[in-house]
């Protein structure tokens, strides 16, 4: 949505400039290019600032939406790949997030759990050594949080899993992501589904308290 609006706004601005510089007849942009350039030259500072603003906006848009890494989530202290574990190796989500079915929170696996496997699989890999270091020094791994809910929202995993809501419905195609990009959870996102499924939409009884 934002990209669309920004693009349309950009095009509209361009059209306005052309219209102004050609005094309302865009055909003259081609027929009387010299005159057009003269008008531009006469207003060079205005044009300069306009172009500058457009470039800055363009850079932002590029950084936010087009830059190759913008599809990736936060870099984690250990480059854990959900694609490899959940996609390639087909490990069930609940193996690492065991409480999803029985509690509010799905649970983040303790470092020890990683090592149950990685004591045997690529145990000497430098990134796995990092995990060993965390474990040996009794330090919790400071993962970057990717999914964020405001404090006044209470999401209960158990209730959704029990209603056969697939993890992917909210968390996206985790199986294909190396670095998990958090879903941008907004109230509309929740409500859309709650309405579709005729679920509870009472403020307190559903999400807030």
């Amino acid at each position: 949505m934002e990209i669309l609006i920004a693009t349309i706004a950009g095009i509209a601005l361009l059209v306005i400039v052309v219209l102004i510089a050609t005094r309302g007849r865009p055909g003259r942009f081609f027929s009387a290019a010299g005159q057009f350039l003269a008008v531009i030259a006469g207003n060079r500072w205005q044009v300069f600032f306009f172009v500058l603003a457009a470039v800055i906006a363009g850079v932002f848009a590029w950084l936010l939406y087009i830059y190759p890494a913008s599809g990736l989530g936060a870099a984690q202290p250990i480059p854990f790949s959900h694609r490899v574990h959940a996609g390639v190796k087909q490990i069930d989500c609940r193996f690492c997030h065991p409480y999803a079915e029985r509690s509010t929170y799905p649970g983040v696996p303790p470092g020890q759990k990683c090592l149950f496997c990685h004591d045997h699989i690529i145990a000497g890999h430098p990134e796995i050594r990092k995990e060993h270091d965390y474990f040996n020094t009794n330090t919790p791994v400071p993962w970057r949080k990717v999914n964020y809910l405001p404090e006044h929202v209470f999401f209960n995993h158990q209730r959704h899993i029990k209603k056969d809501v697939d993890c992917r419905e909210c968390h996206g195609d985790v199986q294909s992501m190396d670095r998990l990009k958090g879903k941008d959870f907004k109230m509309g996102f929740c409500l859309e589904c709650h309405r579709k499924k005729d679920a509870n939409v009472g403020c307190w009884l559903a999400c807030h308290n």
Binding site: R102, G111, K162, W204
Partner: protein, 981 residues
């Protein structure tokens, strides 16, 4: 472009700059290092333990979420409290997470405190004690608070190995006079418990059993078992005392008498009972001695001496004589000299005369507080410290500098350079400041221990969380400082296991686990109710040789009053206890001088005037609070505040009544009294606003807190005519059937499956405010402080209102007030953004993220239960660790109010859905309902015809507070039942 998108775009640029071009959340998600067998994130674990905030020893369940305890609830299996906790028990958590809790030991070097490690501190104590022990006998002394048998065993053994005598148990509320009286009359030097529930008439001579006396939660339950309306009957309770505190406020009649005149009244009653009922069942010699003591106290003399209201006295005497099962309770714990002991002895005698079998006194179930040393022993201990200072003095969790009369100079004695004083304390209190080393130890919720309120009761303490700062527990410290080879056990847990094996035969792991899970062994049976008491041994006459002093004093006298919040002062630094006002005076944070309006007028002062009270031993300054709950000629201050230590919430706050006491030693070294001599009153010239949360205690003729007499209830109900005025407005349930097209503007609400409601039995409510404290703990309520309370900005969702009864303004009544979850809620219709609205289960939701803070709702709420967040309140670390993760912490500019603990309702929904059933009655208990010691609150759904609440709303006593406003509240009150005058 819609408004939201415009704002989004407008904000995007600046936000992108501000966050340095990263859109990643800055929050971290820490994983555990190791697997925990019993920790499921998002689910609570409950660990049974024992509350150690006072000597009563109630059982608690500690709710642990993600490794930290966030709530305490009573253990339903525990025989002392049966699932209930008092205001102090609920607030005990804040001691664990107190911002001033010491993180490690400190040692005083050249007058400066230096932090040292636990290991170093233990090594230092071991070296000091062992070298002192080598120097001779009694070079190491110890003073401790009341501990369980296991801990006391470790102390005693360590002290013996260190060449010293057993530690002395110091409890400021030692109930020493009651114990002495029991020795003098029954020959039992102990504190038997009272089967109050079997009585039908109770006369108390000041025993504050709802505040601090013996075991408040237990006696609140037992009291209401006899005093709550049931089967068309209700017991009577008379309170004889110069003042009326919480206990007195619950009495059917308060007989105001002169200070120390309680014994006189009691002797007068004995005389009347003997005259009316004779002395059957009493040995002739005993009867003769009792007669000799009470003979001079004729009715006229009693009334003359005690200044008691004659008609009240006659009524009490008549009730007592007519009662089938009368029970007499003696005086309270706070010193008023010899009069206390005389009152206790006289009360014992009266019990004996009324029932020579003493069936309502349980001599087998004796309170543990009886192990505390008396005033005389404590005085002798400090005399010895002064005269012949030992090399090392160990103090365990005691604060004698605060709680003992200043003339004993404990402060100076402890500061002595000759002694190396180690204070095992988690806080820098007055005593710790004067010690040479302060050693914080783990608290009851963090350690293995045992504390049985009764001799045969096994009640465990177990670690419900890891010690916050890694402090060792006191038992383990003693295991390490005692000379090698003293103990076979390597830690306190092992000592506990072997003790459980020896004493209770818990030998295998299964039995052990079962006991730890339950919180102890509770299958101990009471002795049969009819068992006779011990033979009565005459030894009481000496105490009545002189008539009680002080009675006729014309000068201003002083009384230290018990406080349900601060106990003996140990709880004064706990923010919730400061913030929740005293239920009787409704003053929070301060300890004003309670004074009768006549006395105040006589001295030319009025409420809020600062005064200094000066006597021979000390002086206190505090503002005046005029109340009719105290007798003219008396100035009273509630005990607990007035600390001189650096407490964040207690330091320099309020006044310490103990500092006006002097020690009166008796001929026999064992007995001593604390008493305050006559006072001089000086105006300090300053005025102070009282942090009172009560606008007025007068209902101004409005139907708020109602009473009904027994005879009205006994009469058949007359024909009811309903109208729309205050006096005839019908009870309108918050259900579709409560809709009436003639008076309702809005259509009725439909409710799906449940309509949550609460019944509040005013006849059972004692005003103890435990519900308020439970609410603070459960719902992350902010503590706003003294000034904001004066500004009227307290945040309590549930509070106790104190009113005068409409028909009898001299009698108080307590009304728990919380959001009424009205069906026709005035708050809902005025909010411009629909932040408060009605949900399908009848709850009045307050949506914090939608609220824009107009405060129209609070303005329109007739119950004044909505609270506005004027600030972002802070929880000084680590108090924030106590916050309930299931409840939003509200921020500035947002309205909040009682939610009926919707998080618990949602949890119950979860359980019910998992099992594919409806929520059962009783499955949802809001925090206030859970903790109410007398069961005054009942919660449930009105859609369920069989629920307890549905039955209670059909009770004849049911009414709605200000229901005539057609708000259709879902909180239904049951009128308090009173006796005819």
């Amino acid at each position: 472009m819609d408004r939201r998108t415009f704002l989004k775009l407008a904000g995007m640029g600046s936000l992108t700059f501000a966050s340095a071009c990263t859109l990643e959340s800055e929050k971290k998600l820490y994983s555990l290092v190791k697997n925990q067998d019993d920790m499921v994130s998002g689910k609570a674990n409950w660990y049974a333990g024992t509350c150690r905030r006072c000597p009563a020893g109630c059982g608690v369940l500690a709710k642990n979420r993600e490794g930290r305890v966030i709530k305490l609830e009573g253990n339903p299996l525990h025989p002392v409290n049966r699932g209930k906790l008092c205001i102090r028990g609920q607030s005990g958590l804040q001691a664990v997470y107190h911002p001033e809790r010491l993180k490690g030991p400190r040692i005083k070097q050249d007058g400066r405190w230096q932090a040292i490690s636990f290991e170093e501190a233990i090594a230092r104590i071991a070296e000091k004690t062992r070298s002192a022990a080598a120097r001779g006998k009694n070079r190491v002394r110890m003073l401790t608070c009341l501990e369980g048998d296991v801990c006391m065993g470790l102390f005693e053994k360590s002290m013996a190995a260190l060449n010293g005598t057993a530690p002395l148990v110091f409890e400021p509320f030692s109930h020493e006079h009651l114990r002495t009286a029991n020795q003098a009359v029954f020959g039992v030097s102990g504190l038997p418990s009272y089967r109050m529930e079997n009585a039908d008439c109770l006369v108390g001579f000041g025993a504050d059993f709802l505040e601090t006396w013996l075991s408040p939660v237990e006696y609140a339950r037992r009291f209401k078992a006899m005093h709550a309306y049931a089967d068309a009957k209700k017991g009577r309770f008379f309170h004889v005392s110069p003042w009326r505190g919480l206990t007195g406020a619950n009495a059917d009649a308060w007989l105001s008498c002169r200070p120390a005149a309680e014994a006189v009244i009691c002797l007068g009653l004995i005389r009347q009972v003997l005259a009316r009922k004779g002395s059957s069942g009493i040995s002739a010699q005993m009867a003769r001695q009792i007669r000799a003591v009470c003979e001079p106290y004729t009715r006229e003399k009693v009334i003359d001496l005690s200044g008691v209201d004659p008609s009240g006295y006659d009524q009490m005497a008549e009730s007592l004589l007519r009662a089938k099962d009368p029970l007499i309770l003696g005086a309270g714990t706070l010193g008023r000299g010899r009069g206390d002991l005389q009152a206790n002895i006289a009360a014992n005698l009266l019990n004996f005369v009324l029932d020579p079998q003493l069936g309502k006194i349980d001599f087998t179930r004796r309170h543990r507080a009886e192990k505390a040393a008396g005033h005389g022993e404590i005085a002798a201990f400090f005399d010895q410290l002064a005269g012949n200072p030992p090399d090392v003095l160990l103090l365990n969790n005691v604060n004698p500098v605060y709680a003992l009369p200043p003339e004993m100079d404990t402060s100076g004695i402890l500061a002595s350079q000759q002694m190396f004083t180690v204070c095992f304390s988690n806080f820098m209190d007055e005593t710790a400041q004067r010690a040479d080393m302060v050693f914080p130890v783990s608290m009851a919720l963090e350690s293995w221990d045992e504390y049985g309120a009764y001799p045969d009761l096994l009640s465990f303490c177990q670690p419900a969380m890891k010690p916050l700062y890694g402090a060792p527990q006191i038992g383990d410290v003693f295991l390490r400082i005692a000379p090698d080879g003293t103990f076979e056990n390597k830690d306190t847990k092992q000592a506990l296991i072997s003790r459980a094996q020896e004493r209770w035969g818990i030998s295998d792991t299964g039995a052990w686990l079962q006991a730890v899970r339950a919180g102890g062994r509770f299958d101990h049976k009471d002795a049969s109710a009819g068992a006779s008491g011990p033979a009565v041994t005459p030894g009481f006459q000496d105490w009545f040789e002189d008539p009680p002093a002080l009675i006729r004093s014309e000068s201003l006298l002083f009384a230290a009053l018990p406080s349900v919040r601060f106990f003996d002062g140990r709880d004064a630094n706990i923010p919730w206890l400061c913030e929740i006002p005293d239920p009787v005076s409704k003053v929070a944070w301060q300890s004003p001088v309670l004074m009768h309006p006549e006395t105040a007028r006589k001295h030319g002062v009025r409420t809020g005037d600062g005064i200094n009270l000066i006597n021979r031993t000390g002086a206190v300054s505090a503002p005046v609070y005029e109340t009719r709950n105290i007798r003219p000629g008396l100035a009273g201050i509630q005990a607990g505040q007035g600390h001189t230590g650096p407490g964040r919430y207690s330091g320099g706050r309020g006044a310490n009544p103990f500092s006006l006491f002097s020690l009166q030693r008796q001929a026999d070294a064992e007995t001593a009294f604390y008493a305050a001599g006559p006072l001089r009153l000086e105006k300090s010239g300053q005025r102070q606003k009282l942090a009172s949360t009560a606008g007025s205690m007068d209902p101004h003729g409005r139907k708020i807190a109602l009473t009904v007499t027994l005879s009205d209830l006994a009469a058949p109900p007359g024909p009811e005519k309903h109208g729309l005025a205050m006096h005839d407005f019908p009870l309108t349930l918050p259900l579709p059937e409560g809709y009436d097209a003639h008076r309702d503007f809005y259509p009725p609400h439909d409710h799906a499956d449940y309509r949550w409601a609460m019944a509040v039995d005013l006849d059972r409510c004692i005003g103890c405010s435990a519900c308020a404290a439970a609410c603070y703990a459960e719902n992350n309520l902010a503590v706003v402080g003294e000034q904001e309370i004066i500004n009227g900005r307290e945040m309590s969702w549930m509070h106790i209102e104190h009113y005068q009864q409409m028909d009898r303004p001299d009698q108080p009544i307590f009304l728990p007030m919380l959001c009424q979850h009205c069906d026709n809620a005035p708050c809902e219709s005025v909010c411009p953004v629909f932040a408060p609205h009605h949900n399908k289960e009848g709850l009045n939701n307050q949506i914090y993220n939608r609220c824009i803070g107009t405060r129209f709702c609070a303005q329109n709420c007739p119950y004044k239960v909505r609270r506005f967040n004027w600030h972002d309140w802070n929880w000084p670390e680590p108090l924030n660790l106590q916050l309930n993760p299931d409840v939003t912490v509200r921020s500035k500019g947002v309205m909040e109010k009682c939610s009926f603990c919707v998080q618990r309702i949602k949890a119950a929904h979860g359980h019910a859905k998992n099992e594919n059933r409806m929520i059962k009655d009783g499955e949802v208990t809001p925090a206030c309902v859970q903790t109410c010691p007398t069961g005054a609150l009942v919660f449930g759904s009105l859609m369920d015809a069989d629920s307890r609440v549905s039955k209670l709303v059909k009770d004849r006593r049911a009414y709605q507070v200000m229901g005539y406003l057609n708000t259709k509240p879902a909180v239904i009150y049951l009128k308090k039942v009173v006796h005819e005058t």
